[in-house]
Symmetry: D3
Subunit: 271 residues, 6 copies
């Protein structure tokens, strides 16, 4: 399979450039700018997601896409609009035009970040984005659903938690995603014959998970990361952080408390 | 209350211009172009939703918004992008900046149009849009959720079925919305003290409903339209229509079959 | 089995005096005053439920109680308090003291009368009484639960719908209870070995039922009444009745609209 | 807001007299007898709940009621009847007559005490009271439901767990309610615009909770107490207590084992 | 694909011999005895399912099996044991040994025939067989589950309702399966890439269905039969049949009442 | 009550021979061969379950059966067929002929062994057997269901986890069954008046249980074993065991990995 990975110069992309080639040797990398440490045997093609023609060009002959491109944190509306809304639409539309059969869309826990931490949610819930970034992920999931139902693409949306070698604080104990486990999820999305349109959580085998990821297990996901193995380190890091009443209550953490002007503490606060 | 209604020159807006003034005399109408039959006592302000400054101007001093503006059927991506994506974001952002407290967002059954007719769905399901138009409605709901959770606005999304004086065919028997019932839903969204963020179905008291609208009933919705009273007319009209295997299977009807290239009949078709 | 039936002079009691003796020949009847047409072979014992000693006396040697006594419609608080609250407690306490093993308590649909007609409810829901009478039925169910859990009595609460030879109006099509079907439910309550504490709906096999009565079916209930067989008659009667917006919306009917001062139509009424 | 607190001389009332005045300075205290340490700036009005006229008098001009009055443990039927049944009815009826808009009713975990500890319950379950006291709480919730649905009062029932500065034994680790958290719940009941009729659990953020209290979180409840912080103390206290097979199995604890004559160990006991 | 159909001389097999060849030209027919009207271009191989070696022989080179063989009504234990238990095991074991990848197993509504007609069941329920025949179908489903989970076969169990050109009585209005719709289900089982182990109901688009078949719709099942189109005929036939209190109550009909010695009418019957 | 226990020479039977006589002194033991340490006061009757006449003979005059006989681990098909399929049928059929009223059938966790460990299952799920042995348990449960529904026997199926004096490894911490707790379950099955057909899990009060056993608690099950008390020992033993990726993922453990040829690791394995 010829696989295109967008966002190749970003955090996740950089790590997957190490892990994917043994599995998918015919890997095309793309981003706005090439990774600084690009190796000679790597196949990089520059493209701006906001440019449909450029995106079509990199989709040529591709069997499956790992779409990690776009703007990956909260940003101004115009940035999000260009990179994630227009860019996201272009990615799906270019794939359709070029006959790409499978797309793995990097959605985010921030698409549902305003769910409280005390609730455990499956994928099939009303979106509660915690940021303009999160809204753009809801948009991307919706485009993916349309392109699956109407045009027959196979689309897997991964609501990625916290990608990294170990969970960094208390919140991450619930949402950690070990890089090797993301690779598994990508393989499921690229190869599993049963995928039509799916939303899966991008999380390892975390005892304190906020998400019901049994749908991923049904597709054969067998994560090896266990956040609890890193509990002491994460709690020690947490102890150094300032309390954040809004961020500590919701799943989205600091994405929720940023710009927060809602009614979190309206009712019972002394007046 | 000073109420702003966008989309005042459209189908729904035209009808609500008759029904709303007795309830909300201080009504501001807006659209790209004025309604042809604008009456002297009506207060019209032109604005292009894609122009944030213009939208801010019409939000000045407003208490609540009925947002029926935007492009109301399937269209090319650029049209949908400008009118519904950028326009929808502008509406919420302008409202926030101008301190508008309540927004009723005209979402659509096409946000969930790819659910089959044999299933009955509550509001809290994964979106399955049936068109670029439907995707833009999912986007609008997501922005509404963000602006409620983060900025404290009260947001009501109405997934409107088929608005009109009577249901026009078999499909509409399940999704009909009598204009007087839409008025009720608007009042709930504008006045009910318990609304934080809600998705309600815009449908009358239809015996063959595909939607569980009990959440609306909890807020006091008491629809007076009953689609079944118009059954004979609707079925007679239906008999004149061509069969549409894809559209007849899904809730979204012809929005689903348009451009359809999916796998509706892949499995069992004679080869 | 020696069976005591309270409320023997009331509407249900009068009818059951005809139907029960072939099944339970050792039947003791009780009420405040004897039935006018008491037959020589009937065994009547007068008792006021508000008098604990009197209630204990009629419980002597009894194996099971059909408790249809008390005040059976809405009434002033003092009446309900004496007849149904104090009377209801006395009945359970006297039964406990005298070693009666089984009690069938005539609860009522009015214990849940403020559920809307569009919702279908199982027995296991929060009570929503529609009257002081309904509150007294919730109280009786709670006492029954306590006496089952703490003192080991077998208690069956029947939320009786509309008892009679045929359903009298549209509402009754959903809640009709044919007298022979009530007899079945009494037998289940008196004899079924599995009854610890149960709440069952007292309704026949009604196609338009608002209640999920599958628990009764599990105990072997096989109702023979089918409200739909009387549809034409009931709808003709309905056509003669005045509309009652509150009563027509809720399951409890006119019990809900009586004394109603709530917010049924607050939101959308023209001001 | 002018707030009336009944039961001002009881355990909860005594503590709330310290915590409420900064929030609700216009606080009227009431009880059968004045608190021994009544301060000059406190406003106390004596009243017997069993005396409707007296209760009406203290409701004069009041905006909201915190009803902690009545008999607060298991007692003889006549005591419960007067203080909690008749007294509870009088409280709601007096409030209605005097136009009080909001009532917070101190219900109790003993309204559902016969649920086993291994099950986790939401508010919307069949009541399973563990005592005459518990029955009176079910009665009070039912009256509250009626007065909300029929007369338009806003009613919040709090099923209070174990109120105190720290949890006293193993059972209390699951049901502890820190006084400051009760204050939050009272504020929600008195002020939240969305309250029509609600049953919430009066419990802090306890990891081993037996109750699903997400409804309270939806209304903005943000408890600060965490029972687990007191685990060692509670378990040490528990080790000094005698085993109580019945009480240790059910949520209601010793309220369940008192007077217990049921079938807890009938089946498998050696004969 | 080379497809083997067992039970080729039976009722279903006879009809499918007409419908399948246009879709699966390479069709091998098998049964204990050849169909009387075998055509020259049909490929028939005799085999006794109770003979493992014979079953292995007919599985040679086969890609998928439609297993309609075995005894298809209630029978003595030895008959069921040989044909359906031992024969069913042999079929799966032979397929495994010969590398057949896909099996469609003709299960039956009689595997769940003791569910009452008033309940609507999905596939995922405890089996309640109504006959020894029904037990053998539960066994076959269990073997299918094992061979899917352990040996990687793709297994589809069809709980077939009533196969035929139109529904024959009232019960069949709920469970009718039009032959063309069975063909669809077979194609899904043989070709759909997502099938690992599934239990689907073999029923057309019946308005009065007792089964929730949405799982089949998810795999693309689009039945064309509508039992309601034949309602008048079926009800007329029903009027000629004798009442069968046991059979009319349960889904399995006469399979339930045969040999019935249970407690259907124990409780309330006059003694 | 005269009780017959089959499998008296097996592991469970040997232990129950010590625990049952104080409760059921009239105990008949049966197996293929007598227990080596049979005591003079024990009543042993040899029988081969595959011989219907022999089974009928040992059922003579019996009130209830504890059926622990048959082959109790994975074995060749012919062994399972004779001992568990034919033997299981014979047991139920002999009991019916001889008028035995109650049967406790030793089913097994291996009837649902292919459920993953991360899911918590109630008894009412689709069987997912992990072995031919597990299939035979599904068969036995189905026969039990038929004999309860059709012939009126009272049947209790116990899906036994791991029977023994303490849990032996990590997996057993979730499924441990203390012998005294099995005795309780047997008593419930033999004596509880409410048992018609039930599937219960044979497990003690294990904190890490994979099964929802609340149905057993409703029948009065009050287990005394707590696996967590043995956690250190079990984890120490676990540390000595080899990893088993398939067995460690599914509830059935090594029964799942034996003969495993499925797709456990197909998707994401490096190629």
């Amino acid at each position: 399979m010829k696989i295109l990975m967008t966002g190749a110069s970003g955090g996740i992309g950089t790590r997957l450039r190490e892990l994917l080639p043994p599995i998918y040797p015919d890997l095309v990398l793309s981003d706005l700018t090439p990774p600084p440490n690009l190796k000679p045997n790597e196949n990089f093609k520059q493209a701006d997601l906001a440019d449909l023609a450029a995106v079509e060009a990199i989709c040529e002959g591709v069997d499956g896409i790992l779409h990690f491109g776009g703007f990956s944190v909260e940003g101004p509306w115009d940035t999000i609009l260009q990179a994630n809304i227009i860019g996201g639409y272009n990615l799906f539309e270019a794939a359709r035009k070029k006959g790409v059969k499978r797309i793995i869309f990097a959605s985010s826990n921030h698409a549902v970040g305003f769910y409280p931490r005390h609730s455990k949610i499956p994928p099939d819930v009303t979106a509660r984005p915690d940021s303009r970034y999160g809204v753009s992920k809801v948009f991307g999931e919706a485009v993916g659903s349309l392109y699956a139902d109407k045009y027959g693409l196979s689309v897997t949306c991964l609501r990625i938690g916290n990608f990294g070698d170990r969970p960094l604080d208390q919140r991450r104990l619930s949402i950690w995603l070990k890089p090797e486990d993301l690779v598994q999820l990508c393989q499921i999305g690229l190869e599993h014959p049963a995928i039509h349109f799916e939303v899966l959580y991008g999380a390892s085998y975390n005892e304190r998970a906020w998400w019901d990821n049994s749908r991923a297990y049904e597709f054969g996901y067998r994560p090896v990361g266990k956040a609890e193995d890193h509990r002491e380190h994460a709690m020690a890091e947490q102890a150094r952080m300032k309390p954040d009443p809004v961020g500590d209550f919701y799943q989205g953490g600091a994405f929720c408390s940023a710009e927060f002007a809602g009614d979190f503490s309206k009712v019972w606060e002394p007046k």
